[in-house]
Amino acid sequence: MHQVESPSRLTRTRPSAASRALGVIEAVLAPLVYPKSAEDYLREVFPLLSRREILAEVVAVRPETPDTTTLVLRPNGLFRGHRAGQWLMVEAEVFGVRRTRCFSIASAPALHQEKGTIEVTIKARPGGVVTPELVWRQKPGAIITISEAQGTFVLPETLPARPLFVSGGSGITPVMSMLRELALHNQAHGATFVYYARTAADVVFARELQEHALFSGAEILVWTDDEPSAVSAPFGRCDARADLSAHVPDFAERETFVCGPPGLLGAMSALYAERGASERLHTEAFSLEEHTSRDDGGTEPQVVFARAAKTQKGSRTLLAMAEDAGLTPRSGCRMGICHSCTCRKVSGVTRDIRTGELSTDANVDVRICVNEPVGNVVLDL
């Protein structure tokens, strides 16, 4: 798990001229429209206009595979750009309800610098609430709310000599951003890009990968479970250890960027640890494995949701328990990185399921998606 950069630590740039002008207009109009803000009125005419929220227009919707779609977004001036590999939160309205989810930016930072757009490539999760909507029903022209780019799984400022990218499934997105950035700066020579997909039809960006193989000098290796696709010369079941040993024998000497399902991440971590190359391995996970607490043998923990006046017994994450109790707290990444789910713990002890760290203080904020109760806990929820 990579270290997370909190949004407050991101460098603040100076507001743009447009945003300052808007600030003046708002300040002048504010007394006239009290208790509303001028923005409320202006936004009826200019829907992207805001000084408070990063809003983005969906300018194009591009199907990639049967269950994966790229949304091209044009964010307003509050969006301060991104680095290759970073992700952002997308707040979409699904059946009338706003929901927040995290997605990596698949496009290169250069695209935003030149054209002012960014792209997210989303795979529909079976049974998911948000992703099927975004993949199959998103219309161009819609306005959505996004966050700043965040995360430290990024292409280093000083470009590594021969980077290795390994990804699987929808995990291709952050490393695709890196490859695209390298290619746009003519630096893709010597890079190796390994991608696992279930079937040939599931290979995201297949055409583009082919072009990279032909023109940008990057070595592209795509494995699918069924048959070789246009780009995948070798084929067979995903076996990172065997594949890397056979086709990228010097992998342990190369800066390696991995994103994909938990199985792939686990195999890669083990492999690099074995070779003593862990510090060259950089990983990004899209999800935590479904967590159920270790049994401490004591009495079953209990969580009181004070505002809802509900109590739930169990030892899952506080978020899962709140949902079990019929509440709908805010959540985003569900893995402790986006802070959407932060909520006040009134009393009790909680344990961070990733680190095992205990939080014993009363009246502190906890991320309920990655904390489980130890004994009795009261949440202001």
Binding site: P31, P35, Y41, G96
Partner: protein
């Protein structure tokens, strides 16, 4: 509480109402968000149009049209948008602009005080004597169980004043102003003082655009703009007064003793809200402009359901009420209001108010 239901009947009445409540709640979603967003856009357009027309008030019809648009905009913001959003009817959407915890409405009562005095006190303790301050707003005698005192002789005048200054009356009803004024500074409740300060601050900021800034911008038309804004505010006050007074005070609405609250069941809560509230009839426009408080009964039974759904719910609720022989208090707006006015005059004098026989029997 006066009703003829056996405990079993009360129980099954409660279950049927709950079923109605939950079935509609489950259906709330995209259409409701689309609806309220459309209303908000229309309301803003009306407000801008109204202000704009008032600037052209050298042409008298523009003054009339501008004042009308502005009155409508103010009414819609308070009734269909503000009041309902603050009830949390659109909280399910989790949208920042529809969030009951952060919405600030165009009313001099600050939203967080409103959530306490209205959403909590008035809606939980509806028509419970001594607890629900909406029951007469601390100055009116609206039920014969309230003891008479000579001050009540002037209550028709108080009521007329309340109608014109309804925002103030409602805004202050979480504060015992009379007691506060006569108290020594040291005896005052610091929290009450804070609430009063907040109301004062908001009232000022709310009054400035209507009575200072917009008239100033209008230059030579300042008096016309000032007057248009004043009239729009008065129209809103009188209309809200009418709607609210028709909600709980017409003949046939019950008031309750605090003792009925102990161990109250859900069924009993629904029944108390039914007996303590009254509807009035009208067309779609009337319902809309009342923020659907023309369906005060449904609003009090289902305060968390988006109000534009009340007319449809009313049809189903009336069937349930008929089945259990319960009175569903409704009538024309004029008829309901007339009965309120009569009651206010009668109860200005000591003694009982005799409801028309047909109602007494019901």
């Amino acid at each position: 509480m006066d009703h003829n239901l056996t405990p079993e009947q009360l129980d099954s009445f409660g279950r049927e109402v709950l079923e109605l409540h939950l079935s509609v709640k489950a259906d709330v979603g995209e259409a409701d968000v689309r609806y309220i967003r459309r209303v908000i856009t229309a309301q803003r357009a009306l407000a801008v149009l109204g202000r704009g027309l008032l600037f052209a008030s050298f042409f008298p019809p523009a003054w009339v049209a501008g004042t009308a648009c502005l009155s409508l905009a103010k009414i819609i913001e308070n009734m269909e948008i503000g009041h309902n959003v603050l009830h949390g009817q659109y909280d399910f959407a989790r949208a920042k602009d529809l969030d009951s915890q952060t919405y600030e409405w165009d009313h001099l009562c600050p939203s967080d005080q409103w959530r306490h005095s209205h959403n909590y006190l008035h809606h939980t303790y509806t028509n419970v004597r001594g607890v629900d301050h909406d029951l007469g707003y601390r100055i009116l005698r609206v039920t014969e169980e309230q003891p008479w005192h000579p001050g009540h002789l002037l209550q028709p005048l108080y009521a007329a004043w309340l109608a014109l200054s309804f925002q103030l009356g409602v805004g202050l009803h979480d504060v015992d102003v009379r007691r506060f004024i006569f108290q020594k500074k040291s005896e005052r409740d610091p929290d009450e003082a804070r609430r009063l300060r907040e109301i004062g601050k908001k009232a000022l900021r709310q009054a400035l655009p209507d009575y200072v800034f917009f008239p100033l911008f209008a230059g030579p038309h300042a008096p016309a703009v000032f007057l248009g804004n004043l009239v729009a505010n008065l129209v809103r006050n009188v209309w809200s007064f009418t709607v609210i007074f028709c909600g709980h005070f017409p003949d046939g609405t019950a008031t309750f003793d605090p003792s009925c609250l102990t161990n109250e069941s859900t069924a009993h809560f629904y029944l108390r809200q039914l007996m303590g509230s009254a509807n009035f009839e009208g067309g779609r426009v009337t319902h809309f402009l009342s923020g659907h408080l023309s369906h005060q009964i449904e609003h009090h039974m289902f305060p968390d359901i988006p109000a534009h759904r009340y007319p449809a719910m009313a049809k189903r609720l009336r069937v349930i009420c008929a089945k259990y022989g319960l009175r569903y208090n409704t009538g024309s707006l004029f008829g309901q209001f007339k009965s309120v006015v009569k009651k206010l005059f009668r109860l200005a004098l000591p003694g009982r108010h005799r409801a028309p026989p047909a109602l007494a029997a019901a």
